[in-house]
Amino acid sequence: MKQPSYTRRTRVVLAVAIAVGALFVARLAYIQIFHASTYNNDSAGSMSSTTTLFGTRGSIVDSNGTVLAEAQMRYNVTASPVQAENSFTRTVNGQTVTVTPTQAAQEIAKYTKQDPNTVIGALNDALAANANSEYAVIAKSVDLSTYRALNRLNIPWLYFEQAPSRIYPNGAVAGNLVGFMGEDGTPLAGLELQQNKCLAGVNGEVVSDRSVNGGVVIPGSTVVTKPGKDGGTLKLTIDADLQWYVQQVLAKQGRAQHSRWGIAVVEEVKTGRLLAVADYPSVDPNNVNGTSAAYRGANSFTSPYEPGSIMKPLTAAMALDEGKANPFSPVKATYSVTYPNGANFHDDEHHISNLTLTGVLVESSNVGISKIGSRVSARDRYNYMMKFGMGSKTAVNFLGESGGIVYPWQNWDNQSYYTQMFGQGFTTTAIQMASAYQTLGNGGLRLPVSLIDSCTSSDGTVTKPAAGTAVQTVKPATARTVVNMMNNVANKAWYRKLIAIPGYEMATKTGTAQQSNGHGGYSSKYVVSLEGLIPAQNPQYVILVTFSNTDMNTTGADAPVFKAIANQLIKQYRIQPNRSNVVNYPLTY
């Protein structure tokens, strides 16, 4: 009795269901097949949007964590010129005000610190090129406060792009080492460029659905399509406070002496770590154009020069190490000399001639050192020079670093066979000379020079740069004796009062080197250097100060800078006064 009714009902329900289903299918086909492209176009951009997840570039910090370079988000101001042609309205204090494109441009220019016509010109140029132009750059890389002020103007055709940039909170402090970046975020110089692998971040991408009205992200729709990665932190061996001080005193004297360039280096004797490497003039990475192109890098690493008489202690070390001399060795240190091979040269000044080796260093006699140094064969001297680190780059391997030029001993001409002993006829960088004195201060063991402490990646992995090898250059006793002789120099040479710090002993040597005049001859202006170790009894720090083309044209120009740096090291690293164990060598025989 009831079975037929079931059947009928079933059929009706089925028919209705099929009809509805068919309707859906038809609509689906209408949307997905016949009008697919229209809807796709409509949905693209308005519903789903891709955002760049900027991988933040890592910071460069000093040995204490002081930030020398860090990432900063800046903003490019762009406009849609086709929209900008029309005025828009804005409500000010409940009143509707019409803002013309010219007025808007004036408002923008006020904050971007441009000429309003530059803004208008950018819009007009874009419209002249394409009447429907949707994109024109108004200003690049504006800071957060400018971006906020512009955003508050509510100009409907003004848009902003994120522009990751770089900031150097300490300005020119270590700017010569840190380097700088281009406006587009390309590393251009220094460690920024060389250590880009450590510092660079990787940008990621996020796709999310957004509401048509207001572009609000719909919850749960965010998908990271490409994960980004922040860059690592590069830690240097430099001490930013000391670096600033060294740069400041170097620049102050450089300016007073109308010097062309100056370099000051502080290296830690027991570790080979560079604590300060100053160049004058130097670059402020925040304002690269403020410094001429020749001084935007680290000439301390990249520009070798003839070191001059600061080479003499190394020559003395060679003679001592070979057993060919001692601090008391007498030598007839005449004013000038002509050797059998024809080589001839003279000293800068006349002095008494019956000098000991220590006296030769105190008087800085070229003739005296050449007579003692030539007791060691050219081949052995060449090998010592190599062991002192000359002729090859230091372990730092700074961008564009030079190893200087030392010709093989077989190629030494008659003159340079002798002049090399007082630092002429070959070139070294300031860093190489600092490293050579570090060797003397460290018992003859030359440690690899280091500038980079480590790179800490964003996941916390710490990578140390490959450590070079230490080289036992001369015997510990030789190194000790040479430092004692240099201590005698510091206490007895003509400039002793210019560098003396009561209560402290130093070991020093000066150098006045000729330099090329750029026309194949020597200039009348010298490269003057003062290099030394403090404290003399147990050397902790190497200090090297070098100037080119000073008014004084003597190492007297270096002395105040050397003394100021020594003072600062004493204060900053708490070196206790100590005048004990001073070895007094006779200067004459």
Binding site: V67, Y168, G171, V173, V216, I218, D241, Q248, K252, G503
Partner: protein, 193 residues
């Protein structure tokens, strides 16, 4: 078609023919009617509840979306301010700015280091008062190590609320070393206005 065949072909929702199979009479029939009603009620109400719940949830979630967006924007804005302010702090604490500020307040770097040993009050080294000539940041020297980030940084002026410090003759007592008098020229340390 036989009844048996029809029964086997009955759809899954067909209620079994309890009248014919039940020997218990009316009671079973009433129960079956009730269960059928309950089934319909559940079948109708269930989807309704689900639709309503979904509606309520989506209203909540989409209204929250705007709130989340507002909060996220505020968060982003605040973290930008945080970074900007921190960067300003590191700019202002840069050594050149500190030195310039210190010199504007009449301080100069000491030129002769000395130590006071606390255990016995002995002075090691030879303390000498610094003179104004050890100033590093005077005039054009202030910008020798430039920092474009410091443009517009506050400069210390001694004409402010805190009274200026008199540099001359601050006596240091104790120890065995007599401290020389401050040179008379030292009171002329100029301040940056």
């Amino acid at each position: 078609m036989s009844t048996a065949a029809q029964r086997t072909q009955a759809p899954w929702y067909a209620v079994p023919d309890v009248v014919r199979t039940s020997l218990r009479g009316i009671r079973g029939s009433l129960g079956a009617k009730r269960s059928r009603l309950a089934f319909v009620a559940v079948a109708v109400a269930g989807p309704l509840v689900i639709i309503l719940l979904q509606l309520v949830l989506s209203i909540f979630s989409s209204s929250n979306a705007f709130e989340i967006d507002t909060l996220q924007t505020a968060n982003k804005d605040l973290s930008r301010s945080y970074i900007a302010v921190n960067q300003r702090v590191s700019e202002l604490s840069s050594p050149s700015h500190l030195a310039r500020t210190a010199e504007a307040m009449g301080m100069v770097p000491s030129s002769t280091p000395a130590y006071l040993r606390l255990s016995d009050g002995n002075i090691t080294g030879h303390p000498t008062a610094a003179s104004s000539s050890s100033a590093l940041m005077r005039g054009a020297n202030a910008t020798l190590v430039p920092n474009a980030q410091l443009a517009g940084a506050p400069r210390v002026s001694l004409a402010g609320k805190i009274p200026a410090v008199s540099v001359a003759g601050a006596p240091i007592v104790g120890g065995s070393v007599a401290l020389p008098k401050q040179p008379s020229g030292s009171s002329s340390i100029s301040t940056t206005k």
